[in-house]
Point group: C2
Chain length 252, copies 2
């Protein structure tokens, strides 16, 4: 069997998330259908992470095992001919038999985009949250510092996540202003993210920026001393999985 | 009657252009429907220009006459509540009785966006032409200089345009590289544009950039000495009407 890691970008607007569902169209289903055409048999892919309905990706990753070899540099073009225009495979590399897109993932980078224009920018409306009101970016940066490091993020996940260990490390949480485009982009780089964690962290940062939550309250929530510092969950369409980083494949 | 000028942005993907058509949905029809709700009677708008099917706008303008006054600063919000999310009104100003969005328009700025990434960037696919191949931007800039100034652009328009005077002035044609986003954006600023002219000029510039048309051939085509320097017509979805400039309303 030949094991291949692919890099996938998608506009999540029209999909019910990444992972296969019986009753809804997902990125995984569309990708597996295209792989099935190329390899002439049903194949299963393993994604590096499950993005929610409406969430986008510029650097999702997935592995699949195939019965014969297709040259890795030709695979993206072959797949893109079969995929709709809102899913684009941008890279492929053959990996060892036991490599798994999720288990080998070293860290992930998510972005959350805020549209700061007075009225929504129509060409950005599907990929950003319109937030024209006052935002104190300095306080948001202070709040972001509280999240940085190794913490138990159990308060900052949605109900229904089955994991028992809720400790994760955020290597950085950075705010970038793109003045010319009237955007503020929050980048989260971490060892892993709990269910809806990036959107809940964004919700807390927005409350900090609007003055309804202090960095100290966020710190207390992380320490289990204050119950009210998490969320609300920011809408899906502002979130994008920017990159999955593999230490074994630094160039990928 | 109260005459009002509004500034309109739209994602043209789902519309058959700006101007009303009997058998297809247009931006004008959707705007007039929303105005009809606010003013409780059918109203007609006059656009500053007719954008084609699939073309976008960040600064379209239109005037309409209404039987009573709605405060200009409240009108965008009132309209946006009634409009779909791909059409957003971003400004309104009361103008004199005889002001007409098209006849008073001083100059217009169009942009044409090229996506230079190796694979299409999914979140930009609706607003750019994917053109990953080699492009010589210096030759394109040379070609763009040929277009600048007052010329008879009769070779650079699509058949079916009814105008008799085909002389227009292009104040500038500029190429902007946005390296971080892997984009090249061409800006056309002119006194007016013939039918499909901006897209045909883009087609000529792309041929210059790929080495199949020289700046000298473009010059000869403008002078009526060479028949082959116009187009092809670049696809609609890369084009955006950035701004309509009114010398009477410098701040608008």
């Amino acid at each position: 069997m030949f094991n291949t890691l692919i890099r996938i970008t998608y506009d999540g607007t029209c999909y019910s998330g990444f992972q296969f569902q019986e009753n809804a169209l997902t990125i995984q289903e569309v990708l597996e259908r295209a792989l099935g055409v190329i390899y002439k048999q049903p194949l299963r892919i393993n994604g590096a992470g499950r993005t929610d309905a409406g969430v986008h990706a510029r650097g999702q990753a997935a592995t699949f095992r195939a019965p014969f070899r297709v040259e890795a540099e030709k695979l993206p073009h072959a797949l893109n001919c079969l995929l709709p225009s809102d899913i684009v495979v941008t890279g492929a590399v053959e990996v060892s038999e036991n490599f798994h897109a999720r288990f080998q993932a070293g860290r992930k980078i998510y972005s959350y985009t805020l549209d700061r224009a007075p009225f929504p920018q129509v060409t950005k409306r599907l990929y950003s949250l319109h937030h024209p009101g006052d935002l104190n970016l300095e306080i948001m940066r202070d709040a972001a510092k509280q999240f940085t490091g190794k913490h138990d993020f159990k308060a900052f996940r949605a109900a229904g996540s089955p994991v028992s260990d809720t400790t994760r490390t955020l290597y950085s949480v950075k705010l970038k202003e793109v003045a010319e485009e009237q955007l503020v982009i929050i980048y989260f780089e971490g060892s892993g993210f709990l269910y809806r964690m990036a959107r809940i962290l964004t919700g807390s940062l927005l409350r900090a920026g609007t003055g309804t939550l202090s960095p100290e309250q966020i710190k207390a929530t992380l320490e289990g001393q204050y119950p009210g510092g998490a969320g609300p969950t920011a809408p899906a369409h502002g979130l994008c999985l920017e990159k999955v980083i593999y230490s074994l494949l630094p160039g990928f």
